[in-house]
Amino acid sequence: MRASLFITCYNDTLFPETGRAVVGLLERLGVSVDFHPKQTCCGQMHANTGFRGEAFSQAKRLVRLYQDTETVVVPSSSCVAMMRDQYPGLIDELGNDSLRKDFAAFLPRVYELSEFLIDRLGVEDVGAWFPHRVTYHASCHGIRGLHLGDRPYRLLAKVRSLQLAPLPNVDRCCGFGGTFSVKNAEVSSAMLAVKLQDVVSTGAEFCTALDNSCLMHLGGAMHRQYAGMKTIHMAQILASTEATPAEGVL
């Protein structure tokens, strides 16, 4: 099977280790991974901040770029939610018929990482090993946007030596919200403080998620507060084996 990785703009810039982990994981599972070198951003930041025209340009660019791609894998639930929830409106309003047609063909070929593993590849046990206590932050776009349900838990349950600590109030937002985190920095920080209490209360060493954006927010506060915890994208846990442990964990 072939899959093309849409890494997302912030993972490309700030979290390349997540991308390397996705490549390692998928290749280990026998998937041939492609990477389109011209990819940039899905347009979520602009769309969520009210820059519809700019968001549309990026949506159009992305749909055209992946026009002939069989399967697109994205290690970010919020970017996939952008494509599913916001692209239809943007493209309907600002696009032409040809773009609408291409988009209709494109959308069913997009998978968030855990969807790709479970729905497309049909695997739950990806052969991973991660000997740590971990709590899973089910991001808003993961639970309410993509309805990922128990997919992430099924994947984590099969990781050898991983001890999963349930996160209290798992459906509550961490307060990131993209530009919300700076436009309403104080409210965002208050939400973060409450979320961090729950995360720390699990006694986990790592907080994982399928969105590095939430993790950047949580991890930034953990580092500031010497909370004694780290964040790690789930792709890195799933890529981790005894022979090749996750990068930067020890």
Binding site: P16, P37, N48, G177, S189, R224
Partner: protein, 494 residues
């Protein structure tokens, strides 16, 4: 006196501070945050339990959404039908284009009645038109009869929630307000004692004031009936004892048929207070000789609603049945409470309704007062896609603001315009990543983390660190890996 009691937030969207500033005093107030979080956690838990027992909850939501959408999309016809039925039943229907007209109509009716006092059933619409201060200034004494509204009125506070308006006040604060304003020095904070004190206070009003004002949870086109649902029975008293009833309702509150209540009432009680059914459900149709008020006036308020109706993407806002499930589920509201929204309608529904009622001239910070977490949409009993409307309104605010030259160099606008340019060309994006990596080194400490950034970045680093930029981007790694592996694979191919 506690800070919360001394605090007088402004609930007038034309005067209120932008949301980020208005939220600050609450964020710094431990008592207020505890009161709000505790109250909504209790309601949420009750709601969740009762929603779970309805196996047809999603079908009910779909039905309610369809009923409400149909009602507002045929609003003109249903309002005329209501007017005809209500008039035939002995009611008098008034039409108010805006808040000022509604206030004037109500005062004229009170003058005709020679009313110096008026008792009120809880109505947030009257707070929307700022009726109480207007009537007081005109020499009419207004007495709230809903327990929460009494607490607010005696404590000289503003509502912070549409169903539980005094949710930000705990019982020891209620005790303090009652003791001070009712002259009851030895009052305890036992809820039964407090309720008894309110009851004694209220009985006098019910028995002596012959004129009442109410809101409406709904009114029915088919029958001309008007309905109020409540928990305390004060509404029932106001609908029984007074001679004259004046009801103020937003025009969108119409339901086409009596049978629609089957769906709406099941959803409303569970969503609003976590009850299977509201303890008191009152419906009255015009006047009934010998039973209840013998004069009935219905004031139908537009005040910006029909302008919302003209906008297809936004009109779903008018489906709202004011259950407040969205604010109870909102992680932003949970931290800030209601006053930060600078409007009688707080929380997610307020964030979309208030700026629209203001025709986008005020409250422009509200559509941004959300992390777009989607919890509000998930719980909404009439399926208002609040995040979708928030995004639409954000786009309108940005379209207004970006025409303003003063905003040209606003770091947020500048940054987003530049980002949009970079994302159009991969080579430009990659160049900017390279430049950014060099630039950010200035701010990166030896531990590899950024602890302080200037400008907009400082908003991030005021409470959060940021990991320094990695040496190699992902696409850089991919390109290097492809260069290494391609000669090998081509050899293998031979």
């Amino acid at each position: 006196m506690s800070a919360a009691v001394a605090n007088h937030p402004v609930l007038d969207p034309t005067l209120a501070l932008p949301f980020p500033q208005a939220a600050l005093p609450v964020l710094r107030n431990p008592q207020l945050r505890k009161n709000v979080a505790h109250a909504i956690d209790v309601i949420q838990a009750k709601r969740a339990k009762l929603v779970a027992e309805k196996t047809d909850w999603q079908e009910l939501r779909s039905a309610a959404s369809a009923i409400r959408m149909h009602a507002i999309e045929n609003l003109g016809a249903y309002l005329e039908e209501f007017e005809a039925k209500c008039t035939a039943a002995g009611g008098v229907v008034h039409w108010a284009a805006d808040a000022a007209e509604a206030r004037r109509i109500i005062l004229e009716i009170l003058r005709e009645e020679n009313a110096s006092d008026v008792i009120k059933i809880k109505t947030m619409t009257s707070a929307e038109i700022q009726l109480n201060p207007f009537l007081q200034a005109a020499g009419v004494n207004v007495f709230e009869t809903d327990l929460a509204e009494i607490i607010l009125q005696l404590g000289e506070q503003e509502p912070s929630h549409i169903v539980v308006p005094a949710l930000h006040i705990n019982r020891s604060q209620v005790r303090e307000i009652f003791a001070r304003r009712m002259g009851l020095k030895d009052l305890s904070d036992d809820p039964q004692v407090l309720t008894a004190a309110a009851r004694t206070y209220l009985r006098q009003k019910f028995l002596t004031v012959p004129t009442a004002i109410s809101g409406a949870n709904f009114f029915i086109a088919e029958t001309g009936g008007v309905g109020v649902v409540e928990s305390e029975g004060n509404g029932r008293m106001c609908l029984t004892l007074p001679r004259t009833m004046i009801t103020l309702a937003g025009i969108e509150k119409v339901l086409p048929r009596f049978q629609d209540l089957e769906v709406i009432l099941q959803l409303l009680a569970r969503s609003a207070t976590g009850e299977r059914m509201n303890p008191y459900n009152s419906i009255w149709t015009g006047v009934t000789p010998g039973d209840g008020p013998q004069r009935f006036h219905m004031v139908l308020l537009d005040n910006g609603r029909s302008s919302i109706l003209t906008k297809p993407k936004q009109r779903q806002t008018l489906k709202c049945i004011r259950c407040a499930a969205c604010m109870n589920s909102c992680p932003v509201y949970r931290q800030t409470g209601g006053h930060a929204y600078g409007s009688v309608y707080p929380g997610p529904i307020g964030a979309i309704l208030t700026p629209q009622l203001m025709q986008m001239h005020h409250a422009q910070s509200l559509p941004f007062a959300s992390s777009l977490c989607g919890a509000c949409y998930e719980v909404c009993p009439v399926k208002i896609n609040i995040p979708e409307v928030l995004l639409e309104l954000r786009a309108q605010v940005v379209n207004q603001e970006r025409r303003d030259l003063a905003r040209f160099f606003d770091p947020m606008y500048l940054g987003l315009r530049i980002a949009s340019l970079l994302f159009a060309w991969a080579w430009l994006f990659h160049t900017s990543q390279f430049m950014g990596r060099i630039g950010i080194r200035l701010f990166t400490r030896k531990d590899g983390w950024i602890h302080s950034l200037p400008s907009v970045g400082g908003k991030w680093t005021q409470t959060r660190d940021l990991r320094g930029f990695p040496k190699q981007t992902f696409h850089g790694w991919w390109a290097a890996r492809s260069r290494q592996s391609s000669p090998v694979s081509s050899k293998e191919a031979k």
